[in-house]
């Protein structure tokens, strides 16, 4: 049930598209970096336990 957007459909859809894409990119990047750093920290902690 798409609402009737009339002649401005392109403008409305593209601004929603751009905003959602940017926000999704930000969320995904934050989560990816978070996961990577967390893995590295676990490795570092494990190393420390093994050696010391």
């Amino acid at each position: 049930m798409m609402p009737e957007l009339g002649k401005y459909a392109g403008a409305v859809l593209s601004s929603y598209g751009v905003s959602l894409a940017l926000m999704a990119a930000l969320v995904l990047l934050s989560m990816a970096r978070g996961a990577r750093v967390r893995r590295q920290l676990d490795e570092a902690e494990a190393r420390r336990r093994d050696h010391g």
Binding site: V12, V18, S19, S30, L41
Partner: protein
């Protein structure tokens, strides 16, 4: 029990890991409800046509672009005065979010401007101020990235943030002086007369709440990442020492 307890990284990690699921779910709910309501269930405005729907991403992102900078200013001051690392790291975590919000506000504004004013870009005071804000975010992030010593980086970016805030305000005034604009006035204000009509108001408020919550969630996630990254640095340094 005081606010400063959360300045302890461990305490912050504990509390934020409890909070995070709630905040993220709330964020998702608000954003979905607000945007779906705004996109599917609001009527067209007489003089805007369907472009009025852009307001649900444009206004919240613009508000968050400014609020993120204010939050960075506050956390920078806290860092400089009380030397809490979490505060400095939170400022660092917030900057890319603010930058993204600025970009969203600029792009949706440009897309909206084309059918309404007949141009994607005009050197209108509000638009220009946002472009300047965008440059400030870029400089701030670049300075964080450039300095290796984390404490020096936190100090210098805080100083830049404070000086930058003064100049950002000054630019806002200067730009107003330089050109009178096309941009319509505030859409939300305490003065009821100026407010947009109720049909649009409620979904807009939900969207704003969603964006605020999204900001909080992301700041929590990213600050946790920064704290972990610092811990890794410390561990690696200790390993090298031997």
């Amino acid at each position: 029990m005081s606010l400063w307890e959360y300045a302890n990284p461990q305490k912050f990690m504990q509390t934020s890991s409890v909070l995070l699921p709630f905040v993220s779910v709330l964020t998702a709910v608000c954003l979905v409800v607000g945007l779906v309501w705004g996109f599917f269930l609001t009527p067209e405005a007489a003089n805007f046509g369907s472009t009025v729907k852009i307001i649900y991403v444009h206004v919240p992102s613009a508000m968050m672009a400014i609020n993120a900078w204010v939050m960075m200013l506050v956390t920078s001051l806290i860092w400089l005065i009380r030397r809490h690392h979490v505060s400095a790291l939170a400022a660092r975590a917030a900057a890319p979010i603010g930058l993204t919000m600025t970009v969203i506000a600029l792009i949706t504004g440009a897309i909206w401007g084309e059918p309404m004013w007949g141009t994607y870009w005009a050197w209108d005071p509000r638009l220009t101020s946002f472009l300047i804000l965008f440059l400030f975010y870029l400089g701030y992030i670049a300075l964080w990235e450039a300095i290796e010593n984390p404490d020096a980086a936190a100090d210098l970016t805080s100083v830049l943030c404070i000086v930058g805030s003064v100049f950002a305000l000054l630019s806002r005034y200067a730009v107003n002086f330089w050109n009178q604009g096309l941009h319509q006035g505030a859409t939300l204000s305490l003065d009821k007369e100026e407010n947009i009509s109720d049909v649009y108001w409620l979904p807009l408020v939900i969207c704003i709440a969603g964006f605020v919550l999204l900001f909080v969630t992301l700041v929590l996630v990213r600050t946790r990442t920064e704290i972990r990254a610092r811990r890794i640095k410390a561990l690696v340094a200790r390993e090298r020492m031997g």
